[in-house]
């Protein structure tokens, strides 16, 4: 409902209404102007402008930019569509579609489709997962799926992301995080991790951009879990976060000591583990090149330990709720540079262009 997905590309936002059923679901492209362009007093230059939109069949469950012009959209009907944004005349058109990429038992039945819940791209490859527990590997411009793993999971797969170029991570509704190696022909995950205690469904997953063994997941109970996939089968830390489903979790792509989560409870949290200045030993405060060198290293060290640290009291983690008057669910967020975008069930998108100001 409301605004279900946002995805940021360097210049545009793609937003979808993601409203239910037969009427009026749309994919919209908005322009927020140059990201680097700031007014005299640092204020943003006006509201996002709607560039173009296009009708979409079914709810938009997930979407992602494949490249500067194409967006892959996952639908509740089970279709996966690539839309192309024509920048010369500002239109959107459906470029390619895989019909009923996800389906329950009888694909040909009129309601045989199963919602496609997650999509991840690494041009030209596209991986999708769905409520049918199926994993699909597509290639843009190739008609048939490159690979399909039927019944990969006995429960619903809620999200997927790339771990390495040939490995993906999935999370499901019985609290499991699985690694799949797409090079291998067998239809089994190469590793299974699971939550301790109650098998609360996991809704989102993201991998640390630099340290590939650090993975974050969000659960139905609003809990943020950090995993070290080099060791063990259980999460390294569990952080009590939101009061309801955590819909999305994202590490900042260029500042990974910052993490963002959004939830059904209407809040969006900014998790900041960057070490505060006062924590550095005093001798490092003297100017010069050596300080820079040291601090860079120190920060990296503490980042690693901060995310994987078990002791929240030792963590110098700052957590801020970025939404002052929360009402309805924040369904989706995305970040690029200093720009944060999120969408809510009140059919609104918000753009914050000065995240670190």
């Amino acid at each position: 409902d409301g605004t279900s997905c946002v995805s940021v590309c360097a210049r545009c936002l793609a937003k979808s209404d993601g409203v239910i059923s037969i009427q009026d679901n749309r994919i919209s492209i908005w322009s927020v102007g140059d990201l680097g362009n700031v007014g005299l007093n640092g204020e943003y230059q006006g509201e996002p402008q709607l560039l173009c939109d296009i009708r979409h069949n079914g709810d938009v469950m997930d979407m992602q930019f494949l490249d500067q012009e194409r967006i892959v959209v996952a639908s509740s009907t089970g279709n996966v569509t690539i839309f192309r944004h024509h920048q010369n005349n500002q239109t959107l058109s459906a470029n390619q579609r895989w019909e009923k990429a996800h389906y329950h038992v009888d694909r040909d039945a009129s309601c045989g489709g199963a919602a496609c819940t997650g999509v991840i791209c690494s041009n030209p490859e596209i991986v999708t997962v769905g409520e049918d527990g199926r994993i699909n590997l597509f290639r843009a411009d190739q008609k048939d799926a490159v690979r399909t793993i039927d019944n990969a999971d006995s429960s619903t797969l809620h999200a997927v992301t790339f771990l390495r170029t040939t490995e993906i991570l999935t999370v499901n509704s019985i609290g499991q995080l699985k690694i799949w190696d797409l090079r291998q022909q067998r239809n089994e995950p190469s590793q299974i991790f699971s939550l301790t205690g109650d098998r609360v469904p996991l809704h989102c997953v993201d991998r640390h951009p630099n340290q590939q063994h650090i993975v974050a997941t969000g659960g139905q109970d609003g809990m943020l879990s950090i995993w070290d996939i080099r060791q063990g089968t259980m999460p390294v830390s569990l952080l009590n976060a939101h009061e309801a489903e955590m819909w999305e979790v994202h590490f900042h792509p260029s500042n990974p000591d910052h993490l963002f989560t959004c939830s059904e409870d209407g809040s969006l949290w900014h998790w900041d583990t960057s070490t505060s200045v006062s924590e550095k030993p005093s001798f490092l405060h003297q100017g010069g090149r050596s300080t820079t060198y040291f601090s860079h290293n120190t920060i990296n060290q503490s980042v690693v330990s901060a995310w994987l640290s078990n002791d929240p009291t030792k963590d110098r983690m700052e957590i801020t709720n970025l939404i002052p008057n929360q009402t309805l669910s924040v369904n989706s967020l995305d970040i690029l540079g200093p720009c944060l975008v999120y969408g809510t069930d009140a059919e609104a998108i918000y753009v914050n262009r000065h995240l670190f100001a």
Binding site: S154, L195, E245, N325
Partner: protein, 593 residues
């Protein structure tokens, strides 16, 4: 007082016609509001979704935020600060209406189809009318402007809504005695009402003298202006074509004749203004009736007329709620129990629920209806179509937050059944865990066990191997988990542990009786091992289980048992006997004990 069975039934009609949602009604019946005297009374019913959906959804969404803010706002502020707060809320509502007007206007401008263009334009005028009414209510009721500021507000009100600028006012400002006029305009807080009245009187007399002296005799234009300034009704009426409406006339008249008009006096001037302006040529339109009711401070009448004219629950619901917060409505109970504010909010919110995406807003409105809100919510929420799991989760979260346990169970059951039918056993289990539904968990476990018996192996091992504490949800589920564990232990060649587990499953009655035969058959390979696994004690237990099982069967059943069954039992007896023999010997010898 309040409509009326007709309206009540009509609202039921609206709710029941699924395809005629709220937004469409805004267009449908709005024609009533702007009815021209000579138009026909037949209205064409159309489903014009595109026109209404986009911009009006913005209206619904944004006003929802304002509504919630108002409900949550501090009641502790008393007197002036509370009033300021309420006026701000009213202004916020109006700015949302104006924003929608803007969008609708843009849509009208960019519409290429002339029919579409005219429809958009109609919508703009409807929204404009709504803002006009709301603005007046804000001045008279929310702000409750007193004599002095009252006229200023009314002037702003008219200016805002009338395209033609009051030329006469402009001319006044540029006339001969600017200083005197500035005095007149300075109706700020610095002066008391009496001071102002005195000043105005003085000025008025001066103007009168100018007129009588014939100062303007040479210029008829100036003379008529002077007459207007003196509040000469006929002079003002002569300029009728410059004023588009009777309320424009009213305010102009008051400006020049009674600028310190008191709120309670408005009704008289309003009535006479309307009579004079319309002059018996045309009858009042619905909009006129509403505005008149406002000038007469008949709050309930205003709401009633708006409800009839607009059939737009949005407007009356939000306005009434605001007026209720201003403590202006007596808690007048309607014959079916709830008060007017609640009735309107319930109707509005119910309309939202029949709308495919705005139902989430409706939830919050129901929350703030203390008497019937919960009941309405319970009924509506079960009827939301759950086409994706994500939507079901949202609905569930709403139910759980309000302790609507019945609805939680019902929704989880629906989702679990759907999953089961699609062979998604893991999903089905996940829903049963959420609802803590032991019975359903048992059902799912039976499915797994059935699959095992048929195929000889477990499907969905990733699920069964990973049940965790949810295993305890139902006995059958526990058995499933433990049984799988047995197989795992066997696979890892940890035979004595496997044996112990297997026996425990029967003796502790974790396994259902129907499964005992399978379990005993599973014991066979353990009995046949080169090494003795089961102790004597354990063997006796196994034998007892077997005997219990066979004794439990009636003679008839034994007769019906096919050869395979009988052979199985025989084999078991033999294996058990052999094991017993070996183990007695083993335990009897010195090394074995």
């Amino acid at each position: 007082m309040f409509p009326c069975p007709v309206l009540f039934l009509y609202s039921r009609f609206i709710r029941n016609t699924m395809y005629l949602d709220l937004a469409e009604h805004l267009g449908l019946i709005f024609h009533l509001l702007l009815k021209k005297p000579d138009s026909s009374c037949v209205f064409v019913v159309r489903k014009d979704q595109d026109i209404y959906i986009q911009t009006l959804r913005k209206l619904f969404n944004e006003s929802h935020g304002i509504f919630i803010g108002l409900q949550r706002s501090e009641e502790e502020f008393a007197g002036k600060s509370r009033k300021t707060q309420l006026v701000q809320v009213s202004k916020n509502y109006r700015s949302v209406i104006r924003a929608c007007m803007e969008d609708m206007h843009q849509a009208a401008v960019s519409a290429r189809d002339p029919a579409l263009h005219s429809q958009y334009s109609t919508q703009v005028s409807i929204l404009s009318a709504m803002e006009l009414i709301w603005n007046l209510c804000e001045i008279l009721f929310v702000e409750a402007a007193v004599a002095g500021p009252l006229l200023l507000r009314l002037l702003d009100w008219v200016r805002l809504h009338v395209c033609d600028v009051d030329n006469m006012v402009r001319e006044v400002l540029s006339s001969e005695n600017p200083s005197k006029h500035e005095l007149f305009w300075n109706l700020g807080n610095t002066q008391t009402l009496t001071e102002m009245e005195l000043k105005w009187q003085h000025w008025h007399e001066e103007c009168q003298r100018y007129l009588q002296d014939g100062t303007f005799a040479s210029n008829s234009h100036m003379e008529s202006i002077c007459k207007i300034l003196l509040g000469d009704e006929n002079a003002i009426l002569e300029k009728k074509e410059l004023m588009t409406t009777w309320y424009h006339f009213l305010v102009t008249r008051l400006l020049y004749s009674h600028p310190t008009v008191k709120p309670m006096e408005l009704r008289f001037y309003a009535q006479s203004s309307m009579d004079l302006f319309l002059g018996g040529e045309s009858s009042p339109e619905p909009l006129d009736t509403i505005l008149m009711a406002a000038f007469e401070f008949e709050l309930h009448q205003v709401i009633k007329e708006c409800s009839i004219a607009l059939s737009n629950w949005w407007f009356v619901a939000h306005l009434t709620d605001l007026l209720d917060h201003c403590k202006l409505l007596q808690s007048h109970n309607l014959y079916f129990g709830s008060n007017m504010r609640e009735f309107l909010l319930l109707e509005y919110a119910s309309g939202l629920f029949s709308h495919y995406s705005l139902w989430q807003l409706g939830v919050d409105y129901f929350d703030h209806c203390p008497e019937y809100g919960r009941v309405y919510l319970e009924l509506h929420i079960e009827r939301i179509p759950l086409n994706t799991e994500q939507k079901a989760l949202k609905v569930l979260r709403i139910c759980e937050q309000r302790q609507m346990h019945e609805q939680v169970r019902s929704i989880c059951k629906i989702m679990a059944m759907k999953a089961l039918r699609n062979n998604r056993l893991g999903s089905a289990l996940s829903w049963s865990i959420r609802a803590k539904d032991a019975a359903f968990a048992t059902l799912i476990s039976d499915r797994f066990l059935k699959d095992y018996c048929e195929k000889g192996c477990f499907s969905d091992l990733d699920l069964i191997d990973n049940l965790g504490p949810s295993m305890l949800l139902s006995d059958r589920l526990t058995f499933l988990g433990k049984y799988r564990e047995f197989h795992r232990l066997y696979g890892e060649k940890r035979f004595s542990e496997a044996a112990k587990l297997l026996l425990m499953l029967m003796t502790a009655h974790i396994a259902p009786c129907s499964f005992w035969m399978t379990l005993l058959t599973d014991a066979l390979p353990l009995l046949e091992q080169k090494e003795v696994i089961f102790s004597a004690e354990q063997t006796y237990e196994l034998m007892r289980c077997l005997e219990d099982l066979t004794a439990g069967k009636s003679d008839k059943q034994k007769f019906q048992d096919d050869d395979v069954e009988t052979m199985k039992v025989e084999m078991l007896r033999l294996a058990l006997a052999r094991n017993l023999a070996r183990v007695i010997v083993k335990e009897g010898t010195l090394e074995g004990s």
